[in-house]
Amino acid sequence: MTVESEAVLRPLPLGDEVSEAFWDAAKAGRLDIQRCRACRRWNHAPSLACPTCGSEDLGYETVSGKGSLFTWCVLKEAPAPGFRDMLPLIVAIVELAEQPHLLLSTNIVGAREEELRLGMPLEVTFERVTEDCALPQFRPAREAA
Protein backbone atom coordinates (compact mmCIF):
# COMPACT_ATOMS: atom_id res chain seq x y z
CA MET A 1 0.00 0.00 0.00
CA THR A 2 1.44 3.39 -0.92
CA VAL A 3 1.46 6.33 1.45
CA GLU A 4 -0.89 8.19 -0.88
CA SER A 5 -3.62 5.57 -0.71
CA GLU A 6 -3.24 5.30 3.06
CA ALA A 7 -4.01 8.99 3.37
CA VAL A 8 -7.50 8.60 1.95
CA LEU A 9 -8.51 5.92 4.45
CA ARG A 10 -10.28 6.77 7.66
CA PRO A 11 -8.32 6.16 10.88
CA LEU A 12 -8.33 2.51 11.86
CA PRO A 13 -8.67 1.27 15.42
CA LEU A 14 -5.55 -0.34 16.83
CA GLY A 15 -6.63 -2.74 19.53
CA ASP A 16 -4.65 -3.35 22.70
CA GLU A 17 -4.60 -6.16 25.25
CA VAL A 18 -7.88 -5.04 26.73
CA SER A 19 -9.74 -4.17 23.54
CA GLU A 20 -8.51 -6.60 20.90
CA ALA A 21 -11.34 -9.07 21.59
CA PHE A 22 -13.86 -6.34 20.72
CA TRP A 23 -12.24 -5.67 17.35
CA ASP A 24 -11.68 -9.36 16.61
CA ALA A 25 -15.39 -9.99 17.20
CA ALA A 26 -16.36 -7.07 14.96
CA LYS A 27 -14.20 -8.55 12.23
CA ALA A 28 -16.20 -11.76 12.64
CA GLY A 29 -19.51 -9.87 12.51
CA ARG A 30 -20.31 -9.97 16.24
CA LEU A 31 -20.79 -7.21 18.76
CA ASP A 32 -18.99 -8.42 21.88
CA ILE A 33 -18.99 -6.19 24.93
CA GLN A 34 -16.90 -6.56 28.06
CA ARG A 35 -18.79 -7.86 31.09
CA CYS A 36 -17.77 -8.23 34.71
CA ARG A 37 -17.96 -11.84 35.90
CA ALA A 38 -18.28 -10.69 39.51
CA CYS A 39 -21.11 -8.12 39.36
CA ARG A 40 -22.38 -8.93 35.86
CA ARG A 41 -22.31 -5.28 34.76
CA TRP A 42 -21.58 -4.58 31.12
CA ASN A 43 -18.66 -2.23 30.55
CA HIS A 44 -17.71 -0.11 27.57
CA ALA A 45 -15.03 1.05 26.77
CA PRO A 46 -13.41 -2.09 28.12
CA SER A 47 -11.00 -1.62 31.01
CA LEU A 48 -8.56 -3.58 33.17
CA ALA A 49 -10.84 -3.51 36.19
CA CYS A 50 -14.61 -3.22 36.55
CA PRO A 51 -15.53 0.44 37.18
CA THR A 52 -18.51 -0.70 39.27
CA CYS A 53 -17.03 -3.27 41.65
CA GLY A 54 -13.29 -3.19 40.98
CA SER A 55 -13.07 -6.86 40.01
CA GLU A 56 -10.38 -7.78 37.49
CA ASP A 57 -12.35 -10.84 36.41
CA LEU A 58 -13.73 -9.55 33.14
CA GLY A 59 -14.66 -11.25 29.89
CA TYR A 60 -16.51 -10.59 26.66
CA GLU A 61 -20.04 -11.65 25.79
CA THR A 62 -21.99 -11.19 22.60
CA VAL A 63 -24.87 -8.70 22.90
CA SER A 64 -28.13 -8.50 20.99
CA GLY A 65 -26.97 -5.70 18.71
CA LYS A 66 -30.16 -3.81 19.58
CA GLY A 67 -30.07 -0.32 20.90
CA SER A 68 -31.55 3.13 20.73
CA LEU A 69 -30.30 6.47 19.51
CA PHE A 70 -28.90 8.40 22.49
CA THR A 71 -27.69 11.38 20.47
CA TRP A 72 -26.03 12.33 17.20
CA CYS A 73 -24.65 15.14 15.08
CA VAL A 74 -23.98 15.60 11.40
CA LEU A 75 -20.46 16.45 10.29
CA LYS A 76 -20.27 18.94 7.45
CA GLU A 77 -16.48 19.11 7.50
CA ALA A 78 -14.20 16.07 7.29
CA PRO A 79 -12.63 15.27 10.68
CA ALA A 80 -9.81 13.42 8.89
CA PRO A 81 -8.68 13.18 5.26
CA GLY A 82 -10.29 9.75 4.92
CA PHE A 83 -13.80 11.11 5.56
CA ARG A 84 -13.84 13.63 2.70
CA ASP A 85 -16.04 11.48 0.47
CA MET A 86 -18.43 10.51 3.29
CA LEU A 87 -19.95 13.92 4.09
CA PRO A 88 -22.40 14.64 5.52
CA LEU A 89 -21.41 12.00 8.07
CA ILE A 90 -23.78 11.05 10.87
CA VAL A 91 -21.84 10.28 14.02
CA ALA A 92 -23.85 9.01 16.92
CA ILE A 93 -23.96 7.53 20.38
CA VAL A 94 -26.06 4.42 20.77
CA GLU A 95 -27.42 3.14 24.08
CA LEU A 96 -27.27 -0.64 23.95
CA ALA A 97 -30.38 -2.57 24.99
CA GLU A 98 -28.49 -4.62 27.59
CA GLN A 99 -28.09 -1.90 30.21
CA PRO A 100 -29.04 1.76 30.78
CA HIS A 101 -26.25 4.18 29.83
CA LEU A 102 -24.22 1.43 28.11
CA LEU A 103 -23.05 3.73 25.35
CA LEU A 104 -21.15 3.14 22.13
CA SER A 105 -19.84 5.59 19.53
CA THR A 106 -20.78 4.75 15.98
CA ASN A 107 -22.10 6.00 12.66
CA ILE A 108 -25.69 5.79 11.55
CA VAL A 109 -26.11 4.23 8.12
CA GLY A 110 -29.21 3.60 6.01
CA ALA A 111 -31.10 6.59 7.39
CA ARG A 112 -31.47 10.18 6.33
CA GLU A 113 -30.65 12.96 8.75
CA GLU A 114 -34.26 14.12 8.99
CA GLU A 115 -35.51 10.64 9.92
CA LEU A 116 -33.44 10.53 13.09
CA ARG A 117 -35.07 11.00 16.47
CA LEU A 118 -34.06 10.54 20.06
CA GLY A 119 -34.55 6.99 21.28
CA MET A 120 -35.30 5.49 17.88
CA PRO A 121 -34.64 1.72 17.76
CA LEU A 122 -31.43 0.71 16.01
CA GLU A 123 -29.59 -2.47 15.20
CA VAL A 124 -25.96 -3.21 14.55
CA THR A 125 -24.45 -3.87 11.15
CA PHE A 126 -20.78 -4.22 10.30
CA GLU A 127 -18.89 -2.20 7.75
CA ARG A 128 -15.75 -3.86 6.47
CA VAL A 129 -13.22 -1.04 6.16
CA THR A 130 -10.17 -3.14 5.27
CA GLU A 131 -9.43 -6.85 5.10
CA ASP A 132 -8.45 -6.73 8.78
CA CYS A 133 -10.97 -4.31 10.15
CA ALA A 134 -14.73 -4.05 10.46
CA LEU A 135 -16.54 -1.26 12.30
CA PRO A 136 -19.84 -1.73 14.13
CA GLN A 137 -22.37 0.66 12.59
CA PHE A 138 -26.06 1.10 13.38
CA ARG A 139 -29.12 1.34 11.15
CA PRO A 140 -32.83 1.73 11.91
CA ALA A 141 -34.13 -1.54 13.40
CA ARG A 142 -36.13 -3.61 10.94
CA GLU A 143 -38.40 -5.01 13.61
CA ALA A 144 -39.49 -3.54 16.90
CA ALA A 145 -36.69 -3.71 19.48
Partner: protein, 397 residues
Protein backbone atom coordinates in the same frame (compact mmCIF):
# COMPACT_ATOMS: atom_id res chain seq x y z
CA UNK B 1 -12.03 25.46 53.47
CA UNK B 2 -13.94 28.47 54.74
CA UNK B 3 -10.87 29.51 56.77
CA UNK B 4 -9.42 30.30 53.38
CA UNK B 5 -12.17 32.74 52.47
CA UNK B 6 -11.12 36.14 51.13
CA UNK B 7 -7.49 35.74 52.25
CA UNK B 8 -6.08 35.63 48.70
CA UNK B 9 -6.61 38.40 46.17
CA UNK B 10 -6.07 39.12 42.51
CA UNK B 11 -4.14 42.39 42.44
CA UNK B 12 -3.24 42.73 38.77
CA UNK B 13 -4.41 41.79 35.29
CA UNK B 14 -2.18 41.70 32.21
CA UNK B 15 -2.82 40.90 28.58
CA UNK B 16 -0.70 40.63 25.49
CA UNK B 17 -2.47 41.49 22.25
CA UNK B 18 -4.84 38.64 21.25
CA UNK B 19 -4.41 38.15 17.51
CA UNK B 20 -3.99 35.50 14.84
CA UNK B 21 -0.62 34.73 13.27
CA UNK B 22 1.47 37.35 15.06
CA UNK B 23 5.10 37.97 14.09
CA UNK B 24 6.20 37.48 17.68
CA UNK B 25 6.91 34.30 19.59
CA UNK B 26 4.52 33.03 22.21
CA UNK B 27 7.28 33.43 24.83
CA UNK B 28 7.47 37.13 23.99
CA UNK B 29 3.69 37.50 24.30
CA UNK B 30 3.72 35.67 27.64
CA UNK B 31 6.45 37.93 29.02
CA UNK B 32 4.47 40.98 27.93
CA UNK B 33 1.33 39.76 29.70
CA UNK B 34 3.23 39.01 32.92
CA UNK B 35 4.90 42.42 32.89
CA UNK B 36 1.51 44.03 32.29
CA UNK B 37 -0.02 42.21 35.28
CA UNK B 38 2.88 43.33 37.49
CA UNK B 39 2.66 46.92 36.28
CA UNK B 40 -1.10 46.88 36.86
CA UNK B 41 -0.38 46.11 40.51
CA UNK B 42 2.48 48.61 40.70
CA UNK B 43 5.11 45.87 41.04
CA UNK B 44 8.07 44.75 38.97
CA UNK B 45 9.69 41.41 38.26
CA UNK B 46 11.71 41.46 41.48
CA UNK B 47 8.51 40.98 43.49
CA UNK B 48 7.54 37.81 41.67
CA UNK B 49 8.36 34.54 43.39
CA UNK B 50 5.95 32.16 41.74
CA UNK B 51 4.67 31.27 38.28
CA UNK B 52 1.95 28.83 37.35
CA UNK B 53 0.18 27.69 34.22
CA UNK B 54 -1.10 24.72 32.29
CA UNK B 55 1.21 24.73 29.28
CA UNK B 56 -0.61 22.10 27.26
CA UNK B 57 -1.17 22.73 23.60
CA UNK B 58 -4.61 21.63 22.51
CA UNK B 59 -4.60 19.88 19.18
CA UNK B 60 -6.56 16.83 18.17
CA UNK B 61 -4.99 14.24 15.90
CA UNK B 62 -1.78 14.70 13.95
CA UNK B 63 1.27 16.53 15.25
CA UNK B 64 0.90 18.11 18.67
CA UNK B 65 3.04 21.21 18.99
CA UNK B 66 5.37 21.09 21.96
CA UNK B 67 8.21 23.48 21.07
CA UNK B 68 9.10 25.61 24.09
CA UNK B 69 8.52 29.30 23.48
CA UNK B 70 6.65 28.68 20.22
CA UNK B 71 3.83 26.24 21.00
CA UNK B 72 4.02 26.28 24.80
CA UNK B 73 5.57 28.44 27.48
CA UNK B 74 6.35 26.51 30.64
CA UNK B 75 6.92 28.37 33.92
CA UNK B 76 10.55 27.22 33.95
CA UNK B 77 11.27 28.77 30.55
CA UNK B 78 9.31 31.90 31.38
CA UNK B 79 11.18 32.29 34.67
CA UNK B 80 14.47 32.22 32.78
CA UNK B 81 13.23 34.73 30.26
CA UNK B 82 11.96 37.10 32.92
CA UNK B 83 15.24 36.75 34.82
CA UNK B 84 13.45 35.73 38.01
CA UNK B 85 14.50 32.08 38.25
CA UNK B 86 17.03 32.94 40.95
CA UNK B 87 14.32 33.93 43.38
CA UNK B 88 11.35 31.91 42.16
CA UNK B 89 10.19 29.75 45.04
CA UNK B 90 7.56 27.74 43.29
CA UNK B 91 6.38 26.98 39.77
CA UNK B 92 3.21 25.10 39.01
CA UNK B 93 2.48 23.33 35.76
CA UNK B 94 -0.81 21.55 36.03
CA UNK B 95 -1.85 19.18 33.33
CA UNK B 96 -5.46 20.12 33.02
CA UNK B 97 -7.15 23.43 32.96
CA UNK B 98 -5.09 26.51 33.83
CA UNK B 99 -7.61 27.20 36.55
CA UNK B 100 -6.24 24.27 38.53
CA UNK B 101 -2.89 26.08 38.44
CA UNK B 102 -4.77 29.12 39.77
CA UNK B 103 -5.96 27.10 42.77
CA UNK B 104 -2.48 25.79 43.44
CA UNK B 105 -1.09 29.33 43.24
CA UNK B 106 -3.67 30.48 45.78
CA UNK B 107 -2.60 27.68 48.10
CA UNK B 108 1.09 28.55 47.62
CA UNK B 109 0.28 32.04 48.88
CA UNK B 110 -2.00 30.86 51.69
CA UNK B 111 0.70 28.52 52.95
CA UNK B 112 3.34 31.25 52.87
CA UNK B 113 5.50 29.57 50.23
CA UNK B 114 5.08 32.53 47.88
CA UNK B 115 4.24 36.22 48.14
CA UNK B 116 3.35 37.12 44.57
CA UNK B 117 2.43 34.53 41.97
CA UNK B 118 1.46 35.09 38.36
CA UNK B 119 -0.93 32.61 36.79
CA UNK B 120 -0.86 32.87 33.03
CA UNK B 121 -2.20 31.10 29.99
CA UNK B 122 -0.29 31.39 26.74
CA UNK B 123 -1.81 29.87 23.64
CA UNK B 124 -0.61 29.45 20.10
CA UNK B 125 -2.70 28.48 17.09
CA UNK B 126 -0.67 26.15 14.90
CA UNK B 127 -0.96 26.41 11.14
CA UNK B 128 -3.34 24.05 9.38
CA UNK B 129 -6.68 22.70 10.47
CA UNK B 130 -7.20 22.63 14.21
CA UNK B 131 -8.90 19.28 13.99
CA UNK B 132 -7.58 16.97 11.34
CA UNK B 133 -6.99 13.40 12.39
CA UNK B 134 -3.96 12.59 10.26
CA UNK B 135 -2.83 9.43 12.02
CA UNK B 136 -3.35 6.16 10.18
CA UNK B 137 -4.24 4.33 13.38
CA UNK B 138 -6.07 5.38 16.50
CA UNK B 139 -5.00 3.91 19.82
CA UNK B 140 -6.09 4.11 23.45
CA UNK B 141 -9.25 6.15 24.05
CA UNK B 142 -9.18 7.40 20.45
CA UNK B 143 -9.80 3.91 19.03
CA UNK B 144 -13.45 4.23 20.07
CA UNK B 145 -13.92 7.65 18.48
CA UNK B 146 -11.63 8.46 15.56
CA UNK B 147 -12.66 5.57 13.25
CA UNK B 148 -16.21 6.95 13.34
CA UNK B 149 -15.16 10.57 12.79
CA UNK B 150 -15.88 11.44 16.43
CA UNK B 151 -12.40 12.84 16.93
CA UNK B 152 -12.82 16.52 17.73
CA UNK B 153 -14.51 18.68 20.35
CA UNK B 154 -16.98 20.44 18.01
CA UNK B 155 -18.62 17.10 17.20
CA UNK B 156 -18.65 16.11 20.88
CA UNK B 157 -20.30 19.38 21.79
CA UNK B 158 -22.72 19.06 18.87
CA UNK B 159 -23.89 15.68 20.12
CA UNK B 160 -24.55 17.23 23.54
CA UNK B 161 -26.55 20.05 21.98
CA UNK B 162 -28.57 17.69 19.79
CA UNK B 163 -29.76 15.70 22.78
CA UNK B 164 -30.60 18.91 24.64
CA UNK B 165 -32.53 20.31 21.67
CA UNK B 166 -34.43 17.05 21.22
CA UNK B 167 -35.31 16.73 24.91
CA UNK B 168 -36.55 20.29 25.38
CA UNK B 169 -37.66 21.36 21.91
CA UNK B 170 -35.11 24.08 21.25
CA UNK B 171 -33.33 25.03 18.04
CA UNK B 172 -30.35 27.17 17.13
CA UNK B 173 -32.62 30.20 16.80
CA UNK B 174 -33.05 30.13 20.58
CA UNK B 175 -29.34 30.84 21.05
CA UNK B 176 -29.12 33.73 18.57
CA UNK B 177 -29.87 36.45 21.10
CA UNK B 178 -27.11 35.26 23.41
CA UNK B 179 -24.56 35.09 20.59
CA UNK B 180 -25.47 38.59 19.40
CA UNK B 181 -25.40 40.05 22.93
CA UNK B 182 -22.14 38.32 23.66
CA UNK B 183 -20.55 39.90 20.62
CA UNK B 184 -21.87 43.27 21.75
CA UNK B 185 -20.17 42.68 25.11
CA UNK B 186 -16.94 41.89 23.25
CA UNK B 187 -17.19 45.18 21.40
CA UNK B 188 -17.07 46.93 24.78
CA UNK B 189 -13.91 45.05 25.78
CA UNK B 190 -10.59 46.57 24.67
CA UNK B 191 -8.94 43.12 24.89
CA UNK B 192 -11.56 41.35 22.80
CA UNK B 193 -10.44 39.68 19.59
CA UNK B 194 -13.77 40.45 17.89
CA UNK B 195 -14.12 44.03 19.16
CA UNK B 196 -15.38 46.29 16.38
CA UNK B 197 -17.16 43.37 14.71
CA UNK B 198 -20.79 43.27 15.87
CA UNK B 199 -23.00 40.39 14.81
CA UNK B 200 -26.67 40.13 13.79
CA UNK B 201 -28.93 37.15 14.48
CA UNK B 202 -28.87 36.21 10.80
CA UNK B 203 -25.08 36.06 10.85
CA UNK B 204 -25.41 33.40 13.52
CA UNK B 205 -28.20 31.49 11.84
CA UNK B 206 -26.34 31.43 8.51
CA UNK B 207 -22.91 30.67 9.96
CA UNK B 208 -20.83 27.88 8.48
CA UNK B 209 -21.86 24.55 10.01
CA UNK B 210 -19.08 22.37 11.31
CA UNK B 211 -20.97 19.63 13.07
CA UNK B 212 -24.70 20.28 12.85
CA UNK B 213 -26.07 21.80 15.16
CA UNK B 214 -22.68 23.37 15.96
CA UNK B 215 -21.53 26.22 13.72
CA UNK B 216 -18.28 28.13 13.64
CA UNK B 217 -19.94 30.84 15.78
CA UNK B 218 -20.74 28.34 18.54
CA UNK B 219 -17.00 27.74 18.98
CA UNK B 220 -14.50 29.94 20.79
CA UNK B 221 -12.02 31.88 18.69
CA UNK B 222 -8.48 30.46 18.76
CA UNK B 223 -5.94 33.22 19.29
CA UNK B 224 -2.24 33.68 19.82
CA UNK B 225 -1.68 35.48 23.06
CA UNK B 226 -1.54 35.42 26.81
CA UNK B 227 -3.47 36.65 29.82
CA UNK B 228 -1.91 36.84 33.28
CA UNK B 229 -3.30 37.36 36.78
CA UNK B 230 -1.21 38.44 39.74
CA UNK B 231 -2.18 36.77 43.01
CA UNK B 232 -1.05 37.79 46.46
CA UNK B 233 -2.42 37.87 49.98
CA UNK B 234 -5.36 40.19 50.56
CA UNK B 235 -3.35 41.99 53.20
CA UNK B 236 -0.50 42.79 50.78
CA UNK B 237 -2.92 43.53 47.94
CA UNK B 238 -4.50 46.36 49.92
CA UNK B 239 -1.19 48.25 49.76
CA UNK B 240 -0.85 47.87 46.00
CA UNK B 241 -1.98 50.12 43.16
CA UNK B 242 -5.31 48.51 42.32
CA UNK B 243 -8.32 47.69 44.37
CA UNK B 244 -8.06 43.91 44.93
CA UNK B 245 -10.61 41.28 44.01
CA UNK B 246 -10.98 38.66 46.72
CA UNK B 247 -10.97 34.93 46.19
CA UNK B 248 -13.86 33.85 48.39
CA UNK B 249 -13.59 30.19 47.46
CA UNK B 250 -13.21 27.63 44.75
CA UNK B 251 -14.06 24.06 43.90
CA UNK B 252 -12.98 21.39 41.46
CA UNK B 253 -14.96 18.55 39.94
CA UNK B 254 -14.04 14.91 39.70
CA UNK B 255 -17.04 13.48 37.89
CA UNK B 256 -15.64 11.01 35.41
CA UNK B 257 -16.70 11.44 31.82
CA UNK B 258 -17.96 8.29 30.11
CA UNK B 259 -15.43 6.15 28.27
CA UNK B 260 -15.78 4.93 24.72
CA UNK B 261 -18.04 7.86 23.85
CA UNK B 262 -17.61 11.63 23.95
CA UNK B 263 -18.91 13.67 26.86
CA UNK B 264 -22.66 13.40 27.27
CA UNK B 265 -25.31 15.90 28.28
CA UNK B 266 -26.29 13.77 31.25
CA UNK B 267 -22.74 13.60 32.62
CA UNK B 268 -22.14 17.33 32.09
CA UNK B 269 -25.20 18.08 34.22
CA UNK B 270 -24.06 15.74 36.99
CA UNK B 271 -20.53 17.16 36.88
CA UNK B 272 -21.62 20.81 36.95
CA UNK B 273 -23.92 20.06 39.88
CA UNK B 274 -21.04 18.44 41.76
CA UNK B 275 -18.76 21.45 41.19
CA UNK B 276 -21.56 23.78 42.33
CA UNK B 277 -22.32 21.79 45.49
CA UNK B 278 -18.64 21.91 46.42
CA UNK B 279 -18.46 25.66 45.80
CA UNK B 280 -21.47 26.29 48.04
CA UNK B 281 -19.88 24.13 50.71
CA UNK B 282 -16.58 25.99 50.41
CA UNK B 283 -18.05 29.49 50.48
CA UNK B 284 -21.39 29.36 52.24
CA UNK B 285 -22.85 31.01 49.14
CA UNK B 286 -25.58 29.80 46.83
CA UNK B 287 -26.82 30.26 43.28
CA UNK B 288 -28.65 33.52 43.98
CA UNK B 289 -25.66 35.29 45.55
CA UNK B 290 -24.02 36.57 42.37
CA UNK B 291 -24.39 39.78 40.41
CA UNK B 292 -22.68 38.45 37.31
CA UNK B 293 -21.62 35.04 36.00
CA UNK B 294 -18.61 34.32 33.83
CA UNK B 295 -19.36 30.88 32.44
CA UNK B 296 -16.99 28.81 30.36
CA UNK B 297 -17.75 29.00 26.68
CA UNK B 298 -15.17 26.98 24.83
CA UNK B 299 -18.43 26.00 23.17
CA UNK B 300 -21.54 28.12 23.56
CA UNK B 301 -23.79 25.36 24.98
CA UNK B 302 -21.63 25.09 28.07
CA UNK B 303 -22.97 28.51 29.08
CA UNK B 304 -26.55 27.32 29.50
CA UNK B 305 -25.47 23.98 30.92
CA UNK B 306 -23.55 25.82 33.66
CA UNK B 307 -26.61 27.98 34.42
CA UNK B 308 -28.49 24.72 34.99
CA UNK B 309 -25.69 22.92 36.83
CA UNK B 310 -25.18 25.85 39.20
CA UNK B 311 -28.87 25.74 40.05
CA UNK B 312 -29.56 29.24 38.72
CA UNK B 313 -32.32 27.67 36.61
CA UNK B 314 -33.67 24.10 36.48
CA UNK B 315 -32.41 21.59 33.92
CA UNK B 316 -33.72 22.41 30.48
CA UNK B 317 -34.35 26.09 31.20
CA UNK B 318 -30.87 27.53 30.68
CA UNK B 319 -31.33 28.20 27.00
CA UNK B 320 -34.69 29.89 27.59
CA UNK B 321 -32.98 32.11 30.20
CA UNK B 322 -30.51 33.26 27.54
CA UNK B 323 -33.13 33.43 24.80
CA UNK B 324 -35.24 35.77 26.95
CA UNK B 325 -32.31 38.10 27.56
CA UNK B 326 -31.81 37.41 31.26
CA UNK B 327 -28.07 36.94 30.66
CA UNK B 328 -27.68 40.28 28.87
CA UNK B 329 -26.09 43.38 30.36
CA UNK B 330 -28.96 44.84 32.35
CA UNK B 331 -30.61 41.41 32.63
CA UNK B 332 -31.21 39.38 35.80
CA UNK B 333 -27.70 37.92 35.74
CA UNK B 334 -25.32 39.38 33.15
CA UNK B 335 -23.30 36.53 31.67
CA UNK B 336 -19.84 36.71 30.08
CA UNK B 337 -19.79 40.48 30.20
CA UNK B 338 -16.40 40.69 28.45
CA UNK B 339 -17.37 38.41 25.58
CA UNK B 340 -15.93 35.19 26.99
CA UNK B 341 -13.87 32.84 24.89
CA UNK B 342 -16.31 33.18 21.99
CA UNK B 343 -15.55 36.86 21.63
CA UNK B 344 -12.49 37.78 23.64
CA UNK B 345 -10.46 34.74 22.64
CA UNK B 346 -9.66 31.20 23.65
CA UNK B 347 -7.67 31.40 26.85
CA UNK B 348 -9.23 28.43 28.61
CA UNK B 349 -10.99 30.17 31.45
CA UNK B 350 -8.60 33.07 31.98
CA UNK B 351 -11.15 35.22 30.18
CA UNK B 352 -13.77 34.26 32.74
CA UNK B 353 -11.49 34.80 35.75
CA UNK B 354 -10.15 38.13 34.50
CA UNK B 355 -13.66 39.38 33.80
CA UNK B 356 -14.86 38.35 37.28
CA UNK B 357 -12.01 40.43 38.74
CA UNK B 358 -12.80 43.37 36.44
CA UNK B 359 -16.45 43.38 37.45
CA UNK B 360 -15.98 43.33 41.23
CA UNK B 361 -13.34 46.09 41.02
CA UNK B 362 -15.46 48.41 38.86
CA UNK B 363 -13.08 48.25 35.92
CA UNK B 364 -15.68 47.20 33.32
CA UNK B 365 -16.19 50.60 31.72
CA UNK B 366 -19.10 50.42 29.27
CA UNK B 367 -19.76 46.83 30.23
CA UNK B 368 -19.67 47.29 34.01
CA UNK B 369 -22.49 45.69 35.97
CA UNK B 370 -23.25 48.56 38.37
CA UNK B 371 -21.88 47.86 41.83
CA UNK B 372 -21.25 44.16 41.19
CA UNK B 373 -20.29 42.65 44.55
CA UNK B 374 -19.87 39.01 43.65
CA UNK B 375 -18.98 37.21 40.44
CA UNK B 376 -18.89 33.49 39.77
CA UNK B 377 -16.49 32.06 37.21
CA UNK B 378 -16.80 28.48 35.99
CA UNK B 379 -14.30 26.73 33.78
CA UNK B 380 -14.46 23.68 31.53
CA UNK B 381 -17.55 21.58 30.95
CA UNK B 382 -18.40 20.08 34.32
CA UNK B 383 -16.47 16.87 33.80
CA UNK B 384 -13.18 16.03 35.52
CA UNK B 385 -10.94 19.11 35.86
CA UNK B 386 -13.87 21.54 35.84
CA UNK B 387 -13.55 24.36 38.37
CA UNK B 388 -15.58 27.20 39.83
CA UNK B 389 -14.56 30.36 41.65
CA UNK B 390 -16.38 32.92 43.75
CA UNK B 391 -14.73 36.33 43.39
CA UNK B 392 -15.84 39.20 45.63
CA UNK B 393 -15.51 42.92 45.98
CA UNK B 394 -13.18 44.04 48.80
CA UNK B 395 -15.40 45.65 51.37
CA UNK B 396 -12.97 45.23 54.26
CA UNK B 397 -10.06 47.41 55.52
Amino acid sequence: MRAFRDRIAVAGIGYSPLTRRPERSLASLAAEAVDAALADAGLDRRALDGLATSPSMPRYGGAKGTVEGIDVVTPWALGERLGIHTHTRWTGSTNGMVTQAFMEAAMAIASGVCSHVVVYRALHVPPGSYINYENRYSVGPEQWLAPFGFSGPPSWAASVVKRYFEMFGYSRADLARYIVDNRANTCRNPNGFWRGKPLAADDYLNARMIADPMSILDCDIPVDGCAALLLTSTERARDLKRKPALLTGFSAGTHSPPTGVPMTLDDIWIGCEQVAARLWEATGLGPSDFDTAQLYDGFAPFVYLWLEGLGIVPRGEGLAFLRDGHGSLGGKLPVNTGGGALGEGRLHGMTQLAEAVIQVTDRGGERQVPGARRAIATISNGLTKATAFAISRDEGQ
